[in-house]
Amino acid sequence: MMNGSHARWTDQLSDYLDGGFAEADRDALEAHLAECGTCRDVLHDLRALVESAHRLGDVPPARDLWPGIAAAIGAPAPAARPRSVIELPTAARARARRGLFLTVPQLAAASVVLAVISAAATVWVGPGVATTSAVGEKGGTVAATTDAGAVFPAVDLAGPPPELAQELRLLEQTLAAERARLEPNTVRILEKNLGVIERAIDESRRALAIEPGNVFLREHLDRTYREKLDYLREAAGIADWTG
């Protein structure tokens, strides 16, 4: 519990932090700070808070407000916006509510990032694993041939983590149903990126077949499934927006 004298100092910490203190008062407060850990902690937190506040950035709205503004100011009605700018209302709002906009180049860039993820798995496992053998979709066992001619041991394909499986399946179904409504270019990019994710999953699973106890590979596979889930959510958001 703070006593009255202590609270008097605490109440002045903001002013002190902002440099609004006369020299004599500053000396007295600094003398108090030298012996009071509580006030030092408060000052430390306030300083961190202020620095964080300074760094807060812009927040675009989750939807394009221009059509409403254009109507109000008598501007020509905007033509149907090209799908080259894609707003992702549902997934983006749910995530950070900071407005996520993906342009086609950004979607394309995402594929580069995902390719790096995929490549990382390949490099980790080594060149001998860089094979394109298909992995069965329904679990069971599968053998994959490396470019060195070796054969992977049979793998029990467990599929995605149980907590993700149902949502993944529903999103895939949603996207399949909405596919016809998306522009061909959007579909092409989505499929390309999902293909990259699938390859990363495929490679991780085959690598795990060799080293089932490898923690990195297990975490990598889990991360990649989550990447896929995030991507599918965004893709479903595109379908929602364009509907």
Partner: protein, 164 residues
């Protein structure tokens, strides 16, 4: 060009500044009405473009216009305040546990949204937007001392929210 009635030029200005204005609205009056008020700011800006003389940057002029408009939306703010009281339990859960770090922007935005209107406006104008106490006092219609005490109150409340 926008001042001459060029809609395309004004759309470019909108696209260049909407993120900042929406962020300001969201932080000052809340997410629920931020988009409507952002739209209103740009509509108001269009109607007042004739008074923009070009001796300040357009962004500065627009920002000041936005602050004035947001501050005058008393009715909207009161409605939001009433809502915030009933939604308090929900907000508590939303910002509950997890790791708390004063530096995390998402936590900071959540804590900001929980501040009472008066303290929040001062915090946003001073700590986020960089206005001085004298300017704030003039804009809000309070004394410099009140602005300072509201700021300290806001910071201490934010600290409490962030440290749980």
């Amino acid at each position: 060009m926008a001042a001459d009635g060029d809609h395309a030029a004004f759309e470019r200005l909108y696209r260049g500044h909407v993120g900042r204005i929406h962020a300001l609205a969201r932080r000052m009056v809340g997410d629920d009405v931020a988009e409507d008020l952002t739209q209103e700011v740009f509509i108001r800006a269009w109607s007042k473009l004739g008074s923009f003389r070009g001796d300040a940057r357009f962004g500065t002029w627009l920002h000041r216009l936005a602050v004035n408009l947001l501050l005058t939306r008393r009715e909207t703010l009161r409605k939001r305040e009433a809502k915030a009281v009933t939604a308090d339990g929900v907000l508590d859960r939303l910002v509950a546990p997890r790791q708390r770090s004063p530096g995390a922007a998402v936590d900071l935005e959540a804590a900001l949204a929980r501040l009472p209107d008066g303290a929040r406006r001062i915090f946003v104008l001073y700590d986020v937007e960089g206005y001085g106490h004298e300017e704030i006092a003039g804009l809000v219609g309070i004394s410099v001392g009140t602005s300072k005490s509201q700021l300290h109150r806001a910071r201490m409340l934010m600290r409490g929210h962030l440290n749980g």
